[in-house]
């Protein structure tokens, strides 16, 4: 997984609440057996018209937002389907940081498996940051110090320490869990004794 450390970009602002993962990447693109190549279909229904032409009004079709690495959006971002194709599509487009006041649980967790940092901020701060999108000015994100730097201001954000470590170091959490194989084995031995039917033998 790609490490996440610091990031600087003009943010794109999508002021819609409850953006679901069907909106982020519609079902017709879930037929892939790969993780890559989904960026061109990110927000497909909002981004292209019936003839497949780009809709100029849509923020990610406009300069300089078509190169944004940071997306600011309304609350409950990523709700609905568990499809990891949603973070894959964001990543493939080039977005590695999302800022919202809240996320759906599965999407939030999926981001961290793909080197994407989902930041939670209060609505007020989001409005403040969205001004930078409107003015096409850069903001910077520093994960190690857990802060966003904009103009002469800074905002701190909260993040789970384990998730932060995984992002900073680009850790493969399967490898981390496999280091606990002894513990898993011990658990399974106890389970065979206590709830033998679980093993489906």
């Amino acid at each position: 997984m790609q490490k996440f450390n610091t990031l600087k970009s003009i943010p794109a602002y999508l002021p819609i609440v409850n953006i679901d993962t069907d909106m982020i990447i519609p079902k017709q693109f879930l037929k892939t057996i790969k993780r890559t190549g989904l960026g061109k279909n990110l927000f497909f229904e909002m981004r292209y018209d019936d003839n497949g032409k780009e809709i100029n009004d849509f923020v990610l079709n406009q300069e300089p937002f078509n190169n944004s690495k940071i997306l600011i959006a309304g609350n409950n971002f990523g709700c609905g389907s568990s499809r990891e194709h949603a973070p894959w599509a964001l990543l493939d487009f080039g977005i590695t940081c999302v800022i919202s006041s809240s996320y759906a649980d599965i999407f939030y967790s999926n981001c961290f498996k793909n080197g994407i940092l989902p930041i939670i901020l209060e609505e007020e701060k989001i409005k403040e940051l969205s001004e930078y999108a409107n003015r096409k000015e850069e903001i910077a994100v520093d994960l190690n110090d857990q802060k966003i730097i904009y103009g002469n201001n800074e905002i701190k954000f909260e993040i789970d320490p384990f998730k932060k470590k995984c992002l900073l170091e680009g850790l493969d959490d399967i490898a981390l869990s496999l280091k606990k194989s002894d513990k898993i084995q011990n658990f399974e031995n106890r389970l065979k004794d206590k709830r033998p039917w679980v093993f489906n033998d």
Binding site: P26, E84, K113, S177, N200
Partner: protein, 467 residues
């Protein structure tokens, strides 16, 4: 210390607990399907990893499969590759698969319970958000992403943080024509689509206890639409009876041991919850969704909302956007909404009791001449049972098409989809923009309400058709 049902299941699955609250949780049951598993298997191959317990995983193709004649296979090439990939991955890694021609094939959340793969007190995961369905059996069941699917395949565990405890009590009895679908729509309307974020919901109260196993599944299924990852109900005699004798249920001595454990699975009387709400079942009416979020609910007696009455700017914009997409005018009556299609099926309402409920309304009636309607049974076994009961004939005689099992028009990955601006009364679980096809307009309803809409040609009150 007093604990909740969720606490108990969590504690019984803790492999490792880190100081920062991150835990490694054992997974007893893993369901996989063709859409969210190929990249997970590819990951295993790339890292030279094996599936730790192949017999704790069960695979089925459901999202992409055609619901029409299957003798010619799948015509859509991409869908075919995905289904074939599932088959070859299962063969390579030794995972049991119900193939497209197996009569046990069906929607992943319908076949799990049917086979007895779903059991109380287990941790069940699947790369699908509607995994919450299995919580009806008193299991901790939730949807995961593909990276987590890979993690479970490789380690039979999952890295998790404990969620909050949220109890929803529903007491009383439901009025005639009102079903568990209406109950869960009402709940989502009340708490909102982010109301359960960070929580595991336990459904309790005498109404919940009075529900059949299948009705409970409908409620738990849509828990994710309220933002909570999992919803569960304490298992009782109905659950034990349902599981007794199922192909993958414990047998003999193991059944007795399992039963003893399962009976212990309930929240202590004095356990505390982080959040709790109460609903009166007697006040619940047949529900419909009017907008593009499952929280956009009204009763069939009500009118579509008017954005002018909303003071909050974000909410007002959201209503305006939804009304525009849905092609509705503010303040119009729910029963004035004319429909083009009806879809009965999905992991929410594709079980035998759902089909019986719809058939009861449709018996000896014809559907409106401008409505196209399909029934997609949730599994091959549901289809077989329905045919034995003659339900297929009732549907066909009324004007419905009788299809092969799968996810179908719930998410429209196969050929079953809405055209732009087509309007559908659907027993599925999501009314998002484009969910059932680009520009398609979805109204979520119960199976009885879907049948009533098919007959009337507009959204209508199922109580009119009750005998």
């Amino acid at each position: 210390m007093s604990t909740t049902l969720y606490d108990k299941i969590w504690n019984d699955h803790l492999v490792d607990q880190q100081e920062d609250g991150t835990a490694l949780l054992f997974v007893d049951r893993h369901l996989i399907h063709e859409v969210t598993s190929p990249q997970a298997f590819e990951g295993l191959r790339n890292s030279n990893r094996k599936v730790r317990h192949p017999n704790l995983t069960l695979a089925v193709a459901d999202h992409n499969v055609p619901t029409t004649d299957r003798t010619k296979g799948i015509s859509d090439q991409e869908s075919k590759i995905q289904v074939d990939t599932l088959e070859s991955n299962c063969k390579e890694f030794g995972v049991q698969l119900f193939g497209m021609d197996d009569k046990r094939q069906g929607i992943v959340h319908i076949i799990g319970p049917e086979q007895g793969f779903t059991q109380p007190g287990t941790v069940i995961v699947c790369g699908d958000s509607h995994t919450a369905t299995h919580g009806a059996f008193g299991s901790l069941a939730f949807g995961i992403g593909t990276s987590e699917v890979e993690h479970v395949l490789a380690t039979q565990t999952l890295v998790q943080k404990k969620a909050k405890n949220f109890r929803i009590n529903v007491n009383g009895t439901l009025p005639l024509g009102v079903t568990s679908k209406d109950v869960i729509l009402q709940i989502i309307g009340k708490i909102g689509t982010a109301g359960g974020t960070g929580c595991v919901v336990e459904y309790a109260g005498d109404l919940i206890r009075s529900l059949s196993v299948e009705q409970r599944m409908t409620i738990c299924n849509m828990t994710i639409e309220g933002g909570a990852r999992a919803g569960l109900i304490a298992p009782d005699e109905k659950i034990f009876e349902y599981l007794n004798g199922k192909p993958m249920s414990p047998k003999g001595e193991n059944w007795e041991k399992a039963l003893e454990y399962w009976k212990s699975l309930k929240t202590d009387a004095d356990a505390s919850f982080d959040k709790e709400i109460n609903l009166n079942a007697n006040e619940i009416l047949p529900m419909i969704t009017w907008g593009t979020s499952p929280q956009d609910v009204i009763t069939i007696d009500e009118k579509v909302p008017n954005p002018q009455n909303e003071k909050d700017e974000d909410k007002k914009n959201s209503i305006e956007r939804a009304l525009k997409y849905m092609g509705l005018t503010p303040d119009m009556a729910a029963t004035d909404i004319k429909i083009d299609k009806v879809f009965i099926g999905s992991c929410t309402n594709g079980r035998i009791e759902d089909l019986r409920e719809a058939a009861k309304i449709l018996k000896d009636k014809k559907i409106s001449s401008h409505v196209d309607a399909i029934v997609v049974p949730g599994s091959g076994l549901v289809k077989e049972q329905a045919e034995q009961e003659g339900l297929d004939k009732i549907f066909v005689n009324s004007g419905f098409e009788w299809r092969e099992p799968g996810c179908s028009m719930c998410l429209a990955m196969n050929a079953d989809k809405l055209k732009p601006e087509e309007r559908c009364a659907s027993t599925s679980n999501r009314n998002f923009e484009g969910r059932q096809g680009r520009g398609g307009r979805t109204h979520l309803v119960s199976p009885g309400m879907a049948a009533a809409a098919a007959i009337s040609g507009n959204l209508d009150d199922v109580r009119k058709y009750q005998n």
